[in-house]
Amino acid sequence: ASRDYISIVGSSTVFPFATVVAERFGRTTAFAVPKIESTGSGGGLKLFCAGIGDKTPDITNASRKIKASEVELCAKNGVNDIVEIKIGYDGIVLANSKKAQQFQLSLRDVYNGVAKMVPDANGNLIENPYQTWQQVNPALPNIKIEVLGPPPTSGTRDAFAELALEGGCKTYPEIKALKKTDKQKYKAVCRSVREDGGYIEAGENDNLIVQKLAANPNAVGVFGFSFLEENADKVQPSIIKGIAPTFDSIGSGEYPISRSLFFYVKEDHKDTVPGLQEYVDAFTSKKAIGDEGYLTDRGLIPLAADEWKLVRSAGKSLTPNL
């Protein structure tokens, strides 16, 4: 018996959007409701690229763009025809409990607080010595650095490392210079996260991180903007480079740690898995991800109109675009 429902894996950031679409899709069409597992973007892509056929997922959600290495892996396993659908934007927020003081951070502060290696006063790279936020920046409160964030399977983690950490890292000219000379080392320095307990890998469940923040005023969490929206009563975002993450600041790209959200579809499964085409259609519809779409209620930051048109046509035709 071949599978008669769509199987979706992937990003926990996209999960709350995808579930809403899936549920509506199931209730308003004759198709079954897709099954969605939250595995993180990296984990999802890994499963997605494992091959074609019933046993593998049809769609994976991702909170970052697919990497070249992943495209390669897919190809190696016979997954050649992939459709990329961009659904909107998201900001990565650093947030803490409303009961505590709000943070004002620069990217460099973030880097110094979370990275594994940081330059000391003389510019030599050393193991991160900072134990409290105040040591990082005297303007910050004197509390222990305790950042709850996602593990490497997560796209949020990748985006956080690339945008926030590397962004802060680059502000040191001597490290920036490294990029030209030793790219490998540059990456290792700028994207490695500390492992001495300051950064706690809290699993793929962003809701769980929010719950834990609410209970622990000292902790700072890293997760997608949509979770902030839903939990505005419990947690507050940190202000990064003077800009608070809001609908507009992320949409305009003003907020420094913002990224696009995607999902990837196996074109090969188009004719076999009933409803696949229709699901993509529903997801890319104006009703869902348009300016006033129902996903914006859930905290998705919509695409610009012309960009949406492109996505829409890709979704309609479902032609491989990678």
Partner: protein
């Protein structure tokens, strides 16, 4: 050498009496420790249960808002001409509802609009749709319709939102409270039994989420578990107890089975992942795999309790059968198994009850997905009751908190039911010799 015994005899009475007061105090103190311990344990049970019940019972009812809707084609976004079932199915019912509520409450601006629209659950659309599809003659009519309320509205109506909290840290804003009061004063709000909770699968909307999907998933999982572990367990126990020679090997097997019964369930989850998913290539998230994993877990339990039940059959009955010329197999099938069956069944039910409450191994094999549709068979993707509880417990929406507790109540009810069955079965079938 003094005769100490005589000496004792003389002073005994007095000494015994002297020691009495202290010993009696000790006695009653010891007793109190026991009473305190039991009370503590039972107290905790009561606290746990009452916390769950007090938090969960509200999930059994839900809120509806009375709206005066007009089902004209224009609002429904229906094209002129032939009205197919298909067209009716896809009409825009949310618009109908939104228009209707806008008539009751005056609003302006996107923000207020959003705030007001959240009063109505998306579930109301689907209900209305199903009503119209079933009864196309309603088209063009104006009628008053009880619409399922949205989560926050529902929560506020049930008193789960504390309005005294500062507005900023509360999702249900003061303006919405004002609107609520207005609707309530007009008699447009009512509280009814929450059918959704018992008939729906999972949902992202707390007011629509139900446990039926998880219940059916649990059912299939347990069914597979039972079909595998019961026959194999009973047959293995019978062989080991009645036929296997008693030697080092069987002793080793016995020790191993006992040990396996205490292996943490998560390890069985690992096994399921490695063997059933990766090696045998069975579908992820399927109750079939869940049942297989759980049956590995219950098998030792069933073997142990079945062996105990067989052991408890008085050997005199076997002797009697052998004495009139029955063969060994006959004495076992005619006498031992029927007599041991209640015990075996009880052990099986208890093992099943444990399996019903297991979460960790199911997480390992992917039964934690978001699954809305109720599974139709053991190969469909499904979750199980405890996993659903786990998933809901981590949802941030207020409505899921009560759903979680209510699901726990349902799960406990099932467990209580199974255990009662076990007890009754034991009582009913137990024979005295």
């Amino acid at each position: 050498m003094t005769d100490i015994l005589n000496q004792i005899a003389k002073t005994k009475q007095q000494k015994v009496r002297a020691s009495l007061a202290k010993r009696k105090a000790q006695e009653s103190r010891f007793r109190y420790y026991g009473i305190i311990s039991i009370s503590a344990a039972i107290l905790f049970l009561v606290v746990l249960l009452s916390a769950i019940v007090s938090q969960g019972y509200t999930a059994f009812y839900t809120t509806e808002i009375k709206l005066d809707i007009s089902l004209d084609k224009e609002t429904l976004d229906l094209a002129e001409g032939e009205l197919t079932q298909q067209a009716l199915f896809q009409a825009d019912y949310s618009r109908v509802l939104r228009e209707a509520i806008k008539q009751e409450i005056a609003i302006s601006g996107r923000k207020e609009r959003k705030a007001l629209y959240s009063f109505i659950s998306t579930g109301a659309e689907y209900d209305l749709r199903d009503m119209v599809v079933a009864q196309p003659s309603l088209l063009g009519q104006n009628l008053s319709y009880w619409a399922q309320a949205g989560d926050l509205f529902n929560q506020y109506n049930k008193g789960n939102v504390d309005a005294s909290v500062e507005e900023g840290s509360r999702s249900f804003k003061n303006q919405q409270i004002g609107w609520y009061k207005q609707l309530a004063n007009e008699g447009r709000v009512r509280t009814v039994f929450n059918r959704n909770f018992f008939t729906n699968g999972d949902s992202r909307d707390a007011e629509l989420a139900g446990i039926w999907g998880a219940t059916v998933g649990s059912f299939y999982t347990l069914l597979v578990c039972f079909l595998i572990s019961f026959p194999i367990g009973v047959a293995a126990a019978t062989y080991l107890e009645e036929f296997a020679p008693k030697n080092k090997w069987t002793e080793m097997i016995e020790i191993n089975i006992n040990n396996l019964a205490a292996v943490p369930s998560i390890v069985f989850g690992l096994l399921g992942l490695a063997i059933f998913l990766n090696l045998a290539d069975l579908p992820r998230s399927a109750p079939l795999v869940g049942g297989l994993v759980l049956s590995l877990m219950t098998l030792p339990t069933i073997i142990i309790s079945s062996r105990a039940a067989i052991k408890a059959v008085p050997p005199s009955i076997k002797d009697a059968a052998l004495g009139v010329g029955a063969s060994k197999v006959q004495s076992v099938t005619h006498h031992v198994l029927p007599v041991a069956m209640p015990g075996m069944l009880t052990g099986t039910i208890i093992g099943m009850a444990q399996a019903l409450g297991e979460t960790a191994p199911l997480i390992m094999i992917g039964m934690v997905a978001f699954i809305v549709d109720v599974p139709q068979g053991p190969l469909d993707a499904a979750t199980a009751l405890p996993v659903q509880i786990y998933l809901w417990a981590e949802n941030p929406e207020k409505g899921f908190a009560e759903n979680t507790s209510a699901a726990i109540m349902v799960l406990l009810a099932f467990l209580a039911f199974m255990n009662t069955c076990a007890v009754l079965l034991r009582k009913r079938l137990e024979r005295r010799w």
